[in-house]
Symmetry: C2
Subunit: 304 residues, 2 copies
């Protein structure tokens, strides 16, 4: 019995079997789960992200601090996508063969520098050994009750936006040089932008671009039961259109705004670019300049 054909199928399969929990506002399938603690003033967001040596980083090309930074950035980016404020994190770390105390110190230095800057204190975790380094970051954040930005809120006619320029991480991975490589190694979770989208622009939906625009926009369209019609997104300097459409790990935000909302051209210097419009049609379909765009972004379960 082969595995389901991709992460979307896999997640649907798990979701169908998991019972709903009391106080759970949103379960499996978005950037974070949303929980409403009894009596609490805010909703709580929870996300967990694996970072695996050989898949997400290499010890030969990434410093220990780069790996620690990236582990935390992956979780923080999910909280950013929901417009949340990070509150704490936990880290499970399997220490790989040949890893010494210098490496571990560097890893925690990178992780803690970003964690503390974001306000998410490291409050727990687990440690074990394995052949290579594997870590799982848990990040918790908060949003005002009922205000989390979700993937399923887009409406027909909403404008589709992305922050920044896309393809930089894929370009950096391909070349190992320059600003693109720095972008790949040290992604910046868009926390301030996420809060701005929630508070000021009242974004109707949002998610982070972790697996590539083509795949992530498909996910947003599926969640909102709509299709998307887009033009080419802004390109990171030197990146190809392919890298911008299908390259993962840009960690920019993808979001939708009501047609009545006037968005600024940038947020604190970060460009906000309209790339298209949500439409009724085939749920999950993405059209680039009118032609179907295959969802070729990074899918952990497709490469079997």
């Amino acid at each position: 019995m082969p595995l389901p054909s991709g992460e979307l199928d896999f997640i649907d399969r798990i979701r169908a079997r998991a019972a709903p929990g009391s106080g759970v506002v949103l379960g499996i399938g978005d950037d974070c789960a949303i929980v409403r603690p009894g009596g609490a003033a805010e909703d709580w967001l929870y996300t967990t992200d694996l970072l695996i040596e050989g898949t997400h980083f290499l010890r030969t090309t990434h410093t220990a601090a780069d790996a620690g930074w990236k582990a935390d950035a992956r979780g923080l980016s999910d909280v950013a996508a929901m417009g949340g404020t990070p509150r704490f994190c936990l880290l499970s770390l399997a220490i790989g063969d040949g890893v010494d105390a210098r490496w571990v110190d560097g890893f925690y230095r990178g992780l803690l520098s970003l964690a503390e800057a974001s306000g998410a204190a490291l409050i727990g975790g687990d440690v074990a050994r394995d052949a290579h380094v594997i870590c799982d970051i848990v990040v918790a954040g908060t949003v005002p009750r009922g205000k989390a930005l979700r993937r399923d809120g887009a409406r027909a006619g909403d404008a589709i936006y992305v922050s920044g320029e896309l393809g930089g991480s894929a370009l950096g991975l391909a070349t190992g040089r320059g600003k693109a490589w720095a972008r790949h190694k040290r992604p910046q979770p868009r926390l301030a932008l996420g809060r701005f989208l929630r508070e000021k622009l009242h974004a109707t939906s949002a998610m982070d671009l972790s697996d590539g625009l083509s795949l992530d926009l498909r996910r947003l369209c599926l969640a909102s039961h709509l299709q998307a019609e887009i033009a080419a997104p802004p390109l990171f300097p030197g990146a190809t259109l392919e890298q911008a459409l299908h390259g993962g790990e840009d960690y920019e935000l993808l979001f939708t705004l009501s047609a009545r909302t006037r968005a600024p051209q940038d947020f604190e210097g970060l460009p906000l670019t309209r790339i298209g419009t949500m439409r009724k049609g085939s749920p999950g379909a993405v059209l680039l300049d009118g032609a179907p765009l295959p969802a070729l972004g990074y899918d952990h379960l497709r490469r079997l």
Copy 2:
């Protein structure tokens, strides 16, 4: 630069560098971290535990459902140790080479059967691929404000107890047969007992026995700045004293009661056995029948 000489040193090292967070009642170093959400009626507990193929289970001897059960049991046991009520869980899963959909279905079936029986709905996670199966379970639970059972609350003169009989998991791992093997494969998190200890016996401290009595009791003594004087604990039928003292993964509860507290001999059929007394002395020391007991329990970082 070698790694610190064991988990205790390692965790101290991380704890010294992690900044405290607002609303964080207890950070790194106990079974769970404790967080007090603004306005919430209860404190929230968070724990995360790795389960690694080759370390914690084998695909050749454990069914997929056994592995899923054990992953969840490890996290639930930490919530039990604090007297908490499980509320939800998240699972990060790296799918190993050769794993098919039948295995994944079995894994989730085992995990969800225990999760749902415990009241902890699965509400999110992450999925990736790796050479072998690695998973990280996050469990969240609740306790009334300020009432979590912790490792650092024992006082000199308190009586030391364990639940159940020890060494069964180590015996099962050694023999692969009988009730001991069943115990190893399907540990039972002592959730009802943990709540009973908190509500009715007002235990002064508690933790779960995941790495062996000798090492776990040392941890409790270090946290409470006391030493422990014990006699031999009750043995699982067929287990040796060595297995009961140093074998891991029994997932029974270790706890202390005020000398004035009268404990029943059992809780719902599970024996509660006094094994010793907390004393002033050398913090962290454990004496068995008057002789120092080395902390030979399972330490992931000592085997270097």
